[in-house]
Amino acid sequence: MIDVSNLLQTQKPLPGNYFAYDAYVSGDYEIGLIENRAGARLIAFPKLLLEAMYTALDQEIGQASGLVLYNCGRWWGKNFYRRFAAEIKEYYGKPLAEMEMVEFIECIKQCWKTYGWGVIDIDLSYYQQGYLVIKTTYSPFAQAAPADSNKPMCFAEAGLLSAFFTQVSGKELDCVQTACESMGEESNYFVLGIPERVRKAQAWLTEGQDHQTIMERLCVNQAN
C-alpha cells in the first residue's frame, strides 16, 4: 500500500513554472528598474536600439558585423547559462544535469518566452546524427534586422545558442542559422553541432538552399 503521507513528505515533487512572467519579472516602473525573482537586475532593449545596432555595425564594419554579433552572443550565452543553471538549481532543488530532459526543455521554453525572445522549440530528431535543431518564432532579433537582408540575421541569437548548448552538452558546439523570419520565413531555424561538421551548412546556405535541404545534406554527409 502506498503511504501518501510519507510519499509527499520525503519525495517532494517539483514546484511549478519558475519562469511564469508575472512571478519572474518585477520592478519599480516609476524609477525604471526591473529585476527577476532571484533579485538580479534585468535590462530591456527597445526595438529601436536593436535596429540601431544592426545599422551602426553595418556602417562601421560591414560584413564583419555578423561575426561581431555572433561573438557578443557567445559571451552573452555563457553568462546566461551560468545564471539559468544557478536559478534552476536554487528553485527546483536539483542541478540541470539531474533534471529530466522534458523538464529542462520546458524550463528553457518558458524562460525564452518570459525574456521576450519569442517562442523556442527544441527538435531532438537529429540527435542520433549529432545535430540539434532549434526553432524560434517571433524573434525580436529577426524583427529588428534590416528588411532587405538576403541572409539569416539572428547572429546574436545563434551565438547565444551555441554557447548555451556548449555548456549544457560539455562539447564545443557551433551554430548555423538556416532560416530567418527577416527573409520572410515563418520561423528561424538554427542547427547546432560539432564545428567542423555544422560549418558545411554555411556553404549550402550561401548557395541558397533551404533548411530542409541543408538538414538532408548534413545527415547524408554524416552517414558517408
Binding site: M1, I2, V4, S5, L7, L8, Q11, K12, P13, L14, P15, G16, N17, A20, Y21, D22, A23, E100, M101, V102, E103, I105, E106, Q110
Partner: protein, 157 residues
Amino acid sequence: MYTELRELLYDAEEHYLQSQEIDKLRQNVQSLKERLAIYKALRDREREIFQNVANQLEKELNPQEVEQLPKAIRQWATILRYLAMGMLLNSHEFIQRRILEWITPVIEAHSRLSLDRQTYQALKSELKNLFPEKQWQILQPFLLQVEQTMLRSDETK
C-alpha cells in the same frame, strides 16, 4: 477576485463606487469566505484525499500502472496545490501560467495518459464527496480547466 477587485480599485480612482459596483465587491468578499474554507480544507486534508485516491487506484490499475502511481500522486498533489491557490484568487490565469503550461508537456512526455485520467477521475470524485454542493460549485470550474488543458488536449493529437 484578483482581476475583479483590481478593476474595482482602478474604477475607484475615478469615482466613488456605485451600488452595482459595491454589490460586486460584496459578492467577492462573501465568496472569499467560502474560498478560504475550501482552501483550508484542501490544505488540511491533502494527505487523506490522496491516500483515498491511491487506495482506490491500487485496486483498479494494472501492475505497471501501480508502479507509476507514486509519481502520478506527487504530480497531482502539486497540481491540486496550485489549483487551490488559483481558486482562492479566482484566477484561471494563475493556474494556467504557474502550473498547467509547465506540467502539461512534462506529463505528456511520460506517456501515461490513461493513468493520469484515472487519477484525475478518482481525485474529482473524492473532492465531490468532500465538499458540500455550494463549495463544489466554486471548485469545479478550476478542475474542469485542468481536465480540458491536460487531459483532453491529448485526444486531439
